[in-house]
Subunit: 156 residues, 2 copies
């Protein structure tokens, strides 16, 4: 019943087979590397994802961004404040709706985004080098398939 094995590396432990545990550990690896390679200079993972979104589809409202990223509107405020203070993005009035703010990346925002994106691609490419190309594609595909199956209800 009770295993009294000497301390060896657990390869077949219960948690090692759990999806949640593996996702978290894998994410930690990527996040730590991102911090080492990219963030020290500029943007947190969150801020980068926000900037990416408004670079790609200019004019999105704050609520729309929060919804797409799965974060709270309240959490977005500080991020936008920061991006705006650094001259990377702007809030602009929305013609039809006086509540909403449309988000636009500035010239500097576009530049920085392109620059960070290149670094992110490099760092992910390096991390993924441990998998062969087919496996890399499959991992991404499976993660996105998993996500899309579950982000329907809560996403909006």
């Amino acid at each position: 019943m009770v295993k009294a094995h000497p301390a060896l590396l657990v390869e077949e432990s219960d948690i090692e087979c759990l999806l949640g545990y593996n996702l978290k550990r894998a994410y930690m690896i990527v996040r730590d590397d991102y911090r080492k390679q990219v963030e020290q200079s500029v943007l947190s993972p969150r801020a980068f994802s926000v900037l990416t979104l408004i670079v790609e589809s200019s004019g999105l409202t704050q609520s729309a961004v929060a919804r797409q990223l799965g974060i709270e509107r309240s959490g977005l405020v500080a991020i936008i404040d920061d991006l705006e203070a650094r001259g990377l993005a702007e809030r602009r009035a929305v013609p039809g709706d006086r509540r909403a703010q449309a988000l636009m990346a500035t010239e500097a925002g576009h530049d920085l985004h392109a620059q960070i994106l290149a670094r992110v691609h490099a760092h992910e490419r390096a991390l993924l080098a441990s998998l062969d190309p087919a496996e890399q594609a499959q991992l991404l595909t499976l993660l996105r398939k998993f996500r899309s199956a579950h982000e329907r209800d809560e996403a909006q």
Copy 2:
């Protein structure tokens, strides 16, 4: 619009193709579901992983557990305190080393672990139902392969 760096081929939608982003979103889904299905009554994901480890290999030291789980020793103290206060685990003196504490799950600890593990398996099975069995296995395999390629250096 002008890129500061030589333009790479931009694949599809930017963040959706990033490993880190997909890992985080996927983990969020699993964690939120865990909280709904399991935690509300008892153990946080972390505490559960700790309990699992000391149930599986009794006598592990706190440092060993922290190392294996990739968390800080300092973060473990409160978790062990809590497990001990609930009568789920114990700290015991280690014969050879008067600094270390050996961790053992109590009878109640074993029971609760088995009970939670069953619930965790059920909740993961439900979440993974969106993938076919081959895909489920592949996702787990790829995540573990990715982890094992990167947890060598920092693991100790």
